[in-house]
Amino acid sequence: MAPESSAALAAPARGFDAFRPLAGLLIAVLAALVALPFFWLCWYALTDAKGAFTTANFIALATDPTMTKPFVLALAMAACVSALSCAIAAPLAWLVARTDMPGRGAVRALVMASYVTPPFLGAVAWEFLAAPNSGLINQAWRWAFDLDPFDALVDIYTFEGLVFVIACYTFPYVFTLVATALDRVPTDLEEASAILGARGARTLSRVTMPLVLPALLAGALIAFLQALTMFGSPAILAMPAGFHVITTKIWSLFQYPPRLGLAAAASFPLLIITILLLRGQAWLLGRGNYAVVGGKSGRARPTKLGAWRWPAAGFAGIVLGLTVALPYLALLKTALTSEVAGPLTLDSLTLHNFHFVLFELSSTRLALRNTFLLGFGAATIGVVIALAAAWLVARGKSRLTGALGFLAMAPVAIPGVVLGVALFLSYSRPPLQLYGTLWILLIAFLTIEMPAGYQQFASALRGLHPELEEASRILGASRLTVLRQITAPLLRANIVAAWCFIFIGAIRELSATILLTTSNTKLVSVIIYDLNESGDLGAISVLGILLLVITFAVVAVANRLPVLGGPPQARG
């Protein structure tokens, strides 16, 4: 550029600024996702077959013992799960975060692995292990002590069994919250106590525990909520045991003869409990005293366990053995043998199950195709909507953007089964007859996963200085160009994380799916559930293993894709 070039370059030519129409569209889409199902839920709960106002559904809900009993059982079950999760997770989190127990890193990684396992797959695996007759543990027990064919050590088809299996897949929530809180307890607080003469145990009980108590309670609430709203595990274990929890009860109201009004009414207590629990959790984590756990005083000094190192490792080993190793091994063994109960020898090894699932079972390929189509679709569309919504809220100035944030976060309070009911009621009737298509499932997954994606981007955008975007605009980029060329590439890591999160969430979803799927729109999760009903355990194992392998593969690939400029290069 020569100094004498006096004529300024013209500003970039005016392109069509699609910002406003897109913002409007986004608000309309999110409002439809949330408001429409809620409207029909209320409508069905409060009207009779002729459309007249009635409270009969709510009266039946409160008085009919076949309705009240599942509620009581579900609450009791959730409370037990919550307590058991805390009993497992709190000591484990302390051992991993604050002691010199061997293998701490591996424990953290494996707990995360059990996080990724779909809960219904865990329930199926525990059927293989602990069904009263065919269960591998019971067979080993009988073989070891030479007992009668009907003696059983453990029975998974019981209330206790259900609590145990669900706790296996809820304890990671508690573990993560407590371990993170323990990581952040400032060392000087503990050292101050030690200098004043308190011994290790006293410091732990009087200083450390009170500081992480809010995190533990918040974890307990999440475990409670997860257990209460879970459909897969209770459907697999409680119904054979002869009892219903509220989610399976709502599902049964969809079986013939359908009682949709009652199902809609039964959704409301779940909705209200969920909202209350989430408020409680937000309050616990948002209180002032928890903020102390945020001080930065260097790496924590690990407690020396001394002679207790190996017993502690043994405890961690047992927990992971029960939640990860045993179920995975049971799935693998069942996949590779023709008879579930048979011994695993070189002779009995077979790929028959794989052959059957991949080439003979007619529904598999359709289900795999549907599952991945929906997983990719929900993850991709979900990331776009969540990012756009979070960006509008973070950078927008109008009153409407506030409503957008609320709409994006609202589904967090809707349990999967309630959403299933609401979407069924909304889209199985004119004007939008989507029931029986993949669209209704796409809507369900988008709605369920929207809050997680939105939250991810909202917090990421808070850390992104607006000047980076303004620098692009003043040079001539429209708002959408800025979003595409500056904001999105800078949030690449968050985009990949949110995409994987939604993808995994979508392919493991069963609570809403089970109410919205038809024979043409089967998903792998539903096939696993169906096969369990028909007792085809080898095929389940193969599908379960496929689901897990593909999940890990997709996550691994997603982290390496050269989209948005590829992984951040190492910089000197």
Binding site: P3, S472, R473, I474, L475, G476, A477, L490
Partner: protein, 354 residues
């Protein structure tokens, strides 16, 4: 009519008026500085010019065309401006070259022309060797130069600078002050520069606009602002001063009470009533002997004396409790508690309307 005309610009956030009836004109090719303490509205004024905020009243015209009024505002990307940000705002996912080329790519400049333009500006800002690096690998001063190059390469109609040097350490800041002035002399972009640092403003600007509480206090050349401040605020903010409050007495004198009458070389006398006199600390003469003058002279006591190497900083207490700061050569060494005479030369006394 000037190239940029800002008239009656007002911006409110709720009940707070951040920019209050600001009017400015900027000649084409000149560099104008908005100077003031933090919260004085200078950055908001800049953002109004950039288009990142819309005014509640008033308008901004560039080259005779209204680009911003309360009714309609051209978005930032349509204004043909460039901006240099306080935190540089370089994009960490792009190399130095890509950062600089970004604005040209938006303008769809053909590749060979683009390479030539980016190469030229990287040369001018001494960045050619760093073109492949990413911003995270650069020092603060280098990042600042990339920000300059990125803003200059698009040949903006108006260049906006928002506290561009405040994140640099003292030595680098001094170097960059002159660098910015050098680049301005080379390219002559019409520039609007926001700073709270008077030295920056004095070095860089053709015209300084001093702002306080959302209002313009004075618009003038750097020397004019310093020698002929329009208000007490301007006098205090630029270089520090002593203000004596009093009332006009006669044609060119102000009676400040306690027997102190100051004849002034010039300034804005009030037609009647309250007037202040400003005099810089280094313009006051200090001696232990009586000055023999009846006006522009006062007697006081040394309250505090500080040795600062190149000079001594005195705090003198006059009869009646008035305190005066005086900067004197190191040879004049008078201990605290001693009586002294002050002489305030009429040529250095500047009357201000209060």
């Amino acid at each position: 009519m000037s190239f940029v005309e800002i008239a009656g610009l007002t911006k409110r956030y709720g009940a707070l008026t951040v920019v209050d009836n600001v009017s400015l004109s900027i000649e084409k090719g000149s560099l104008i500085c908005l100077l003031g303490p933090s919260g004085c509205g200078k950055t908001t004024t800049l953002r109004l010019v950039a288009g990142f905020a819309e005014p509640d009243q008033g308008e901004i015209r560039v080259g005779g065309r209204a680009i911003s009024t309360p009714k309609s505002s051209l978005p930032p990307e349509r204004r043909g401006m460039s901006m240099i940000f306080q935190n540089y705002a370089l994009w960490p996912h792009m190399s130095v070259f890509e950062n600089v080329a970004y604005g040209l790519r938006l303008r769809k400049i053909p590749a060979d022309d683009l390479n030539k333009r980016v190469g030229a500006i990287l040369d001018a800002t001494k960045l050619s060797a760093l073109a492949r690096r990413h911003p995270g690998e650069l020092s603060g001063g280098q990042q600042q130069r990339v920000a300059l190059a990125r803003a200059l390469v698009v040949e903006p109609e108006i260049l906006l600078l928002d506290e561009p040097l405040s994140n640099l350490d003292a030595n680098l800041r001094e170097e960059m002050r002159f660098e910015i002035r050098r680049l301005h002399d080379q390219f002559r972009f019409t520039s609007l520069y926001v700073t709270h640092d008077q030295t920056e403003a004095m070095t860089a600007a053709d015209v300084v606009v001093v702002m306080n509480q959302g209002r313009v206090e004075q618009t003038a050349s750097p020397s004019e602002i310093y020698r002929r401040p329009a208000t007490g605020f301007v006098a205090r903010f630029l270089g520090g001063t002593n203000l004596f409050e009093g009332a006009r007495s006669g044609a060119d004198a102000v009676d400040c009470g306690e027997g102190l009458v100051l004849r002034c070389a010039g300034g804005a006398y009030a037609a009647a009533g309250p007037t202040s006199v400003s005099i810089r600390p280094h313009d006051i003469k200090l001696s232990e002997a009586a000055t023999g003058e009846s006006v522009n002279s006062a007697r006081g006591t040394v309250a505090r004396q500080t040795y600062l190497g190149s000079h001594r900083d005195y705090l003198i207490e006059l009869a009646g409790g008035r305190q005066v700061r005086v900067v004197a050569p190191t040879e004049i060494d008078i201990a605290a508690g001693r009586g002294v005479w002050l002489y305030l030369p009429p040529a250095a006394c500047w009357a201000l309307e209060r």
